[in-house]
Amino acid sequence: MFEEKTNQYMQNQIKLFEQLMKEMEPVEALINKPVNLLSVNSAEGAVFFYENKMYCLGNVPEEKEIKELITWLRTKEPGNFFQTSSLAKEFPEAEKYADIGSGIMIIQIAHDRSEYILWFKPEIKRKVNWAGEKNKEQTKQEDGSVHISPRKSLSKWTEEVKCTSEEWSNTEVSAALKLREDLIQVINKRANEIRKLNDALKAAYEELDTFSFTISHDLRTPLSSIKNYTEIILEDFGKELSPEAHLLFMKVIKGTDKMAGLIKDVLQYSRVGRADIRKIPLDMGKMLTEIKEEVLAPYGDRDIQISIINCPPINGDRTMLMQLFTNLMGNAVKYSPRDPAVIEINGEIKDDFVVYTVEDNGIGIDMKYAGRIFELFRRLDNVKNIEGTGVGLAIAKRIVEKHNGKIWLESKLDHGTKFYIELPVKQG
């Protein structure tokens, strides 16, 4: 009987390893299968802590109790492995759940992470036959020559096994340790694959940025030739051209201007992706005032009020943050066509972050599409009549991400939009 079980545990351990290799997803392989963590020993409950989540099988203590147990274990056992068949003796709090976990076995998967597997065995009294002959004998031996009644001896034995589980056999321990090795192997393999994927993705992004950079660059020259030759036609032969032909050539020029604008934006976008970030403490008041003047310059005839309120310094890349706030402030003006346009820029330090807001009273953004407006070339329906390339906010998002920050917005159609930029205060 014992040997049969032992063989079963060993076979199941091999099966677990196969599942791990096949699934490459530890939770799937160890929990969600007929052969699982409970198949490699006689424990009645198992817990798997993995990537900050807890997965349970069978009878296990409350989550809070398990967490306390782990905290205690950390202070007690620096090693990768721990087992006992009488947990409450060492950790009195465990008495509460003696019926579930009098015996425990724990393996820690990685030192630097809180990743564990725990097995629980119940108190033995529930499992054994009280009136067993063998037990009576054992009691006798311990009591020596004293004559005792069977009933008394039975109560004595019960006392002894309180908060004690069946022992962890060598096979069970060895299966647990083998499982630990298997798991580490799979986790490392998985990490390597993710890393490889990550590298490939990064390379692809870089390639894309380089590609868009080169192509935009190369597009500029012929585009400006088209424009300049058209200008020459108009200048040298304008008098011979019909008004219609003149108009058409003007449209060619307008088209090249639009395309040049787009190329300029795409270049900027890929440039942000390629550029190394150079963080320095920035005087935001000065920068924002400069940007304000620049943004307002083309709108001389409009009533636009831009107020810059608090300007806590930002640790950031000067060029990039200039660009970020130029884009946001430029958008605020551009998409607030009613006079007076009221725009407010404010900054605030919140714990370890600095949060800037750029608020306008413009046409607003349908919040249904709020998640998409940072996508490249994305423009919403209500701005069809306002010129733009759909790159400005994509650049803004890239810049914020380069600074490990966040950008989001609140908006109401026909009322206005408020953009939030949150950047970490600390350098790095």
Binding site: S224, S225, K227, E231, D257
Partner: protein
């Protein structure tokens, strides 16, 4: 005496536009070469054509604009010649590099002929006058 200008540019269209504008601007004698090697050859061999200003495109076949700039700056004979980078790139790194290597100015090619005329006229007036004095 017309002022001599060397313009290194590989794009024939750009040279056409340049030509068209420059002859309206004043009495200039300019030569163009389409790459760095022939620019250096011209500087070394045609001593009677010592330019009073050099305009350099950056993206060129063979030596790029920076390399030509470095060459000019290391030769005592040419050190004093104003070198103007003349390119469609508005990349910060290109601008920074140009000044580090000793360019006198960095000119972004405007995309309309009128602006090009203004920009070139200003540049010629500023750098050629300084050079004469």
């Amino acid at each position: 005496m017309p002022k001599k200008i060397l313009y290194v540019e590989d794009n024939p269209d750009a040279i056409t536009f340049f030509n068209r504008i420059v002859h309206k601007l004043g009495d200039y004698h300019f030569k163009t070469t389409e790459d760095g090697a022939s620019a250096i050859k011209l500087l070394e061999e045609e001593k009677e054509f010592e330019p009073e200003m050099i305009l350099l495109d950056i993206n060129l076949p063979g030596m790029n604009g920076f390399e030509i700039l470095q060459y000019v700056r290391t030769k005592t004979t040419y050190k004093h010649i104003p070198v103007i980078m003349f390119t469609s790139s508005d990349d910060d790194n290109d601008i920074k590099k140009s000044y580090e290597f000793g360019a006198n100015a960095y000119l972004i090619k405007p995309d309309s002929l009128n602006s090009l005329k203004e920009v070139l006229s200003d540049t010629f007036n500023f750098w050629l006058k300084h050079n004469v004095a």
